[in-house]
Amino acid sequence: MFLESVRLALRSIARNKMRSLLTLLGVIIGVAAVIALLTIGGGAREQIRAEMAGQGSRLIFAFAGMVRDPASPAEIKVQPLTNEHLMNLDKSIGQHATIAAQAETRLRVSYGARGLSAQIRGVSESYFTLREWTLKRGRLLSPLEVASHAGTCVIGSKVAKALFGTENPIGARIRIGHPHCRVVGELAPKGASFSGDQDTLALIPLGLFQIRISGRNELAQILINAPSEALVAPLKVRVAEEMRRLRRIAPGRNDDFQVDDMAEYMRQAGSIIGNVTAILGAIAAISLLVGGIGIMNIMLVSVTERTREIGIRMAIGARQRDILVQFLTEASVLSLLGGLIGIGLGLAIAWVVTAFMNVSFVPNLTAVSAIAAVSAMIGIVFGFFPALRGARLDPIDALRHE
């Protein structure tokens, strides 16, 4: 009986191909939007997870924060972090965690006539142990080079391409601003990510940066790698206490620095993605609602057109329930069809967009099957009223209908 209804429904849809397609447009667009958003959002999340794994979820960052002087509220003071903070932190918590620091600026990097503006990062000795680094060729800076403020550097893939094209940059002497340095390694391309462009970059020893480039003993960031994820939170508290002491912040006064961790960044990024997905998802839901109304409309038309057929079926023994099931099946097969087309379209859109965004394409099978079920449900919900109307027809009136 049910299979019979499905067969009937498919036949009836096939008879009105154009009409069915137009009716389904709402559902198709709605479902495609939902699927595309979920897939793209899922890919973005996956990207964040991958970055987290690459950069270490146990990382804690400390950096100078802005603080308003109550005496002159318009003036914002930033008290930078210095080598002194690094040394003191290393002294107090260095036996529990690896501590590193970086200083940053943007400068022109050049080799002969070629050059480009890149992010220049001076890094301390243990910096390279805190993150995973993939080299294309050469090596990272050695601890000895960092400690001795050697004139060596590691360059990002875009810098290498701009300065050397396809040639091997290892051993070449490039200029970073004024000072020269010898390229010892080229990083593998990382692509654009949520932490920005990671390829237009040159890494040099922190000492070289502070002496030859910035001329100050200031740091942009101190990085602390907790030995385990469970220790991230207590370590953050410990770092904050230590910083307050080092920076002589009176009790009751606000911190003039910030201590964050990687997991928190990822959570923030994830929640932004979540919010955007939710808003767009709501719009998609409205589209599904409109699609449902379209189905209700066309089912009302179908019931009216087939009044006589309903009369015939009732005369030869169809119960009201049989007629109800027939039209409900037709409505849900129709909307399920729309759902399947929408899923196909949505995945295609997501595939193209994720390719452009450089994000992995990960179709969410749970979401896909859920949306297929939802689209069949739309048919049942919005097809119910028309189907009931058909089922409640008086067989005599229905048979008389022209």
Binding site: M1, E4, R15, R308, E309, G311, I312, R313, M314, A315, I316, G317, A318, R319, Q320, R321, D322, P395, I396, L399
Partner: protein, 238 residues
């Protein structure tokens, strides 16, 4: 309830009224009609339009129920059955033949004939076999895959008769079965119905307004103004 015995008729109208509307505007399509139909008989119901013959047919076919009075079918009060039970009664015991054939368009002869069996829940192989047999009985075994549009009026009516026969009904209700056919086709259809009545003992009640068609039946009941005006078999009535 009467136990179905030799003397009990297949069906009986006992003082049946069918009224529409209420109060001052109430219209009576049937005003206290009583008669019985024996098994294996062929009855023609005649009368001018508005005489109540169509209403009688609708109640006979369990498509409608009396406003007052009793419609007894095979001993039970069919007028008090709910919608689903009447649908089942129609499906199991009553076959309809209409003036306008009432076949499903764009559906083959075989599928049209199978339709009652679908609602009986029979599996496809059994349905096909029974429907093919019914089509053979009306001489249309060669047209089973034709849709109504590809069949002549006479052939369409034969398909409709096959559809009525496929469920092996107790009662065949025919509403102007020859109304849309020429004389030649009308005679063929009537010959088919007469044969079904004589050879298979099928009980037939047929509405017609043509005297020569009514003449094929063994009994005539004539309606006027919602009452029986004439019954050729008055002695057998309840």
């Amino acid at each position: 309830m009467n136990a179905p015995g030799k003397t009990a008729p297949l069906l009986a109208f006992e003082n049946v009224w069918r009224s529409y509307g209420g109060g001052d505007t109430q219209v009576h399509a049937l005003s206290g009609v009583s008669f019985g139909i024996e098994r294996g008989t062929f009855t023609a119901v005649t009368g001018p339009s508005g005489s109540g013959k169509s209403t009688t047919m609708n109640i006979l076919g369990a498509l409608d129920v009396p406003s007052r009075g009793i419609y007894r079918f095979m001993g039970s009060d069919a007028g008090r059955l709910d919608n689903a039970s009447r649908a089942e009664l129609r499906n199991r015991h009553i076959g309809f033949v209409f003036q306008g054939y009432n076949l499903l368009p764009r559906t083959t002869a075989l599928e049209n004939v199978e339709l009652p069996l679908i609602y009986r829940g029979l599996p496809p192989p059994a349905r096909h076999a029974m429907a093919e047999k019914a089509l053979e009985q009306v001489g249309l075994e060669g047209r089973r895959h034709h849709t109504p549009a590809a069949l002549s009026g006479g052939q369409q009516q034969r398909v409709a008769i096959a559809r009525a026969l496929v469920s092996e009904p107790t009662l065949l209700v025919a509403d102007e079965p020859t109304g849309n056919l020429d004389t030649e086709r009308s005679r063929e259809i009537m010959a088919l119905l007469t044969a079904l009545n004589r050879e298979r003992g099928l009980t037939i009640v047929m509405v017609t307004h043509e005297a020569d068609i009514a003449a094929f039946a063994s009994r005539q009941i004539s309606f006027h103004d919602g009452r029986i005006a004439f019954d050729s078999d008055a002695g057998a009535a309840v």
